[in-house]
Amino acid sequence: MRGWTAILCFLALTACQREQRNLRPSPARVVIFNDAAREDQIQPGGAQSMPQVNNPDEGNAYDVSEGQRLFDWYNCSGCHAHGGGGIGPPLIKTEWIYGGEPANLFDTIVKGRPNGMPAWGGRIPEYQVWQLVTFIRSMNHEEPKAATPARPDTIEQSPQTLQNKANGVTR
């Protein structure tokens, strides 16, 4: 009997962050933490210390997939395409204008940025912002592979294939 209890405890511990599904997100509230991320940290003068803000959805498969849906629903792809960029800057990259940490991305979505990025704070709930942040990070392989869907149900081809097709050549 003790053996079984031990096994069950062990299994409960291994019930990992990736598989949790929070279907009742905390009541809708919007927190714009003003100092969470600063634009000037990538400006001359170097980064200032910033309060540590953790992404509550880090590594969670359900939130990545919700973020993917919201990215479409809120028409983020209208400007950013499927991460490749268009009117807005591409989201698959290594260089971020306003910082690529979860807190920076959260700040960017909530406050908006010059040249067209609208402020979503106060319009969409905080938990959805985090889901979007998580999805955007997953596009850059910054979320665990096991939590990231291999592909969406759309035509999405790798840059290499697109290039091959465009050139019409055979390697």
């Binding site: 598989e19 592909r151 149900d153």
Partner: protein, 640 residues
């Protein structure tokens, strides 16, 4: 033709020494090493078969608990006993468990145990493959339940239709675990099918020509061929289409890139429909065996029975589309599949008629196994008739994916497979343990199960017609479904009581049951010639078949095989049609490699849930395991 002669003296085979010495030598040759390490080296079919049976029964209990949870949730409208997410995981796990971890492995396990005994041989043709198959099944089941207990249980139904099960709509590893669990159980089923076919075709007792093969062995032969043709399809569906889409972004089920969700359905049901017959054809074999022993005559119409079995298997591959009538296929195709689906009623009908004819002219003894057979006929005929309704396209449009279908397939699968299985447990229990089960308790079990079953599932027919769809976790009160659901839930608990009584009977009879002796039912087939329970070598002298029912043949017509060596694991290989002895065959002994290989391959497969690259080390590990498995220990010359 090897002639049958009379033994020269007192002992059957002077070369073997006295019977006592002979038994001792056989015992030494066929026993596995003791203790814990030795446990994992077992390769005798009785040991492996018993493990299959016990493991599959444990999964049956798990599936039963899931069923009770579901029934509790559905007992009345707007119930909040289970959340939607939990309910979806539970019904998927219930279906998956019952199909892949209970029904098929249980049938395989019974066959692994019984077929070599019925054929009068000492083991299956590939004993180590047999052990490997068992461990793969066990690991697959553990993988699924590890997922369930860590909130990673699959939640897309046991059929896992894409796009719902695809990468976009099923985040996390829930579906991957399901898909890879299928691979485990498929490998296990294919191992058993392969070795059963080879055993039945090549290792029958001398003179057991094909037209003397017991009907149960026929049913397993046919079922094994079905496994071989059907299981690759589900591997294509789950392991290739679904898992590759989910892990390496192929587009098999992605409609936007030319893939087709309906293609998955076609491939899945090309497996899924024969799967039903894979479960239920062995049960027909149980029924024939029980009916023969309890009417004290051979089943009427043996050739018709065999042809009907084969026909069922053949037609079974031609009617998968009746699971897809609602997808809007061309009408002409639908008519064809309606006709094919109805044809299956002809072959099933023939078997029912033959059993009725057997009972009509036999001398019926009403023991518990016979009760279960009669219950089977009652329930299965009703399930078959609702099946005829489902074959009709217009009716199917109304009742498809409703509780009517739930009722139908529980009538067919519980009535058609579980009732015969319980009959078979009662029937072969004395062979497996050496003791009889309690008859009174057995009959009480039967009545409780029978009443509980009908109480649970009959109302579901009406619920389905009244519009209750499948796989819903709750329903509003104004639908008028409350009463029938409440009745079904009560019935489910009654079934549970029956199950508990059965377990109590099994456990208590092991100690208190009356000693059975070799042939307590006075049955005709060869498994009753072995001791109860059978020693690891089954028979001290391999029997020679004397007609379809050797045990009913007069003593002067029976014979045994002599000249087999008893210091190594020898069996006899006979010809396919007439079972003339061709050569002796030395089977491998106990081995740790099947377990080790299964561990390596299984571990690798678990890895592939998380990434495709795990296939490479898995392949290497499988290679290492197989080389170790087959590497010659010493240059063995097989002297005669």
């Amino acid at each position: 033709m090897t002639p049958i002669i009379e033994a020269p003296g007192e002992t059957v085979d002077p070369r073997a020494g006295t019977n006592e010495e002979h038994r001792k030598k056989l015992e030494r040759a066929w026993s596995r090493p003791g203790r814990i390490f030795g446990f994992f080296t077992a390769t005798t079919h009785t040991a492996i078969g018993m493990r299959y049976i016990i493991t599959a029964f444990a999964f049956f209990l798990a599936g039963g608990i899931e069923a009770l949870l579901m029934r509790t949730q559905l007992a009345f409208s707007n119930n909040h006993f289970l959340s939607a997410d939990r309910y979806n995981q539970i019904f998927t796990t219930h279906g998956t468990t019952m199909m892949f971890l209970f029904a098929v492995p249980m049938m395989e396990g019974m066959a692994v145990y019984l077929v070599p005994l019925m054929l009068g041989t000492r083991n299956v043709a590939f004993p180590r493959l047999n052990a490997f198959g068992y461990y793969m099944f066990l690991f697959g089941g553990l993988l699924l339940y590890a997922g369930v207990l860590t909130n990673t249980g699959p939640d897309v139904g046991w059929f896992a239709y894409p796009p719902l099960s695809g990468p976009q709509y099923s985040p996390g590893k829930r579906v991957d675990i399901w898909a890879q669990m299928i691979t485990f159980t498929e490998i296990s089923a294919l191992c058993v099918a392969t070795e059963l076919i080879a055993t039945i075709l090549k290792m029958r007792a001398p003179r057991m020509s094909l037209n003397r093969l017991p009907l149960y062995c026929w049913s397993m032969l046919i079922q094994s061929f079905m496994v071989i043709f059907a299981m690759p399809a589900v591997m294509v569906a789950s392991t290739i289409m679904l898992l590759l889409d989910r892990t390496v972004a192929t587009h098999f089920v992605n409609p936007a890139a030319g893939g087709d969700p309906l293609l998955y359905q076609h491939v899945f049901w090309f497996f899924g429909h024969p799967e039903v017959y894979i479960i239920f054809i062995p049960a027909l074999g149980f029924v024939s065996s029980i009916v023969e022993a309890h009417t004290r005559r051979g089943v009427f119409g043996y050739p018709a029975m065999v042809l009907a079995l084969a026909g069922t298997a053949f037609i079974g591959f031609g009617l998968w589309v009746h699971h897809m009538f609602a997808t809007g296929l061309p009408q002409i195709g639908e008519s064809f599949f309606t006709a094919a689906s109805m044809m299956i009623a002809i072959t099933s009908g023939i078997q029912i008629f033959c059993w009725l004819a057997t009972i009509w002219t036999g001398r019926v003894r009403m023991h518990t196994p016979m009760y279960f057979v009669l219950g089977f006929i009652f329930i299965f005929v009703m399930g078959g008739l609702t099946g005829v309704m489902l074959a009709s396209v217009p009716l199917d449009w109304q009742v498809h994916d409703t509780f009517f279908v739930v009722a139908h397939f529980h009538y067919v699968l519980i009535g058609g497979a579980v009732f015969p299985l319980f009959g078979a447990f009662h029937y072969w229990y004395p062979k497996m343990t050496g003791r009889m089960m309690n008859e009174t308790l057995g009959k009480i079990e039967f009545w409780i199960l029978f009443i509980g079953f009908n109480m649970t599932f009959f109302p579901m027919h009406i619920l389905g017609l009244k519009g209750m769809t499948r796989r819903i976790y709750t329903y509003p009160p104004e639908m008028g479904w409350d009463n029938a659901n409440a009745l079904a839930t009560v019935g489910a608990y009654i079934i549970a009581i029956g199950g508990i009584l059965f377990i109590a009977n099994v456990l208590s009879s092991r100690k208190t049951g009356a000693p059975a002796g070799r042939n307590p039912w006075d049955a005709g087939t060869l498994e009753w010639a072995a001791d109860s329970p059978p020693p690891p070598y089954n028979f001290e002298y391999l029997p020679v078949a004397a007609g379809r029912y050797t045990m009913w043949a007069p003593a002067e017509a029976r014979a045994v095989v002599t000249g087999m060596r008893d210091d190594r694991r020898e069996v006899l290989v006979t010809s396919i049609m007439d079972a003339e002895p061709q050569h002796r065959l030395v089977l491998p002994g106990s081995s740790f490699w099947p377990f080790l290989t299964a561990l390596l391959v299984g571990g690798g497969f678990v890895g592939t849930v998380f990434g495709f690259n795990w296939y490479y080390p898995t392949a290497v590990a499988a290679g290492v395991g197989l080389i170790g498995w087959f590497w010659p220990k010493a240059p063995r010359d097989l002297r005669p």
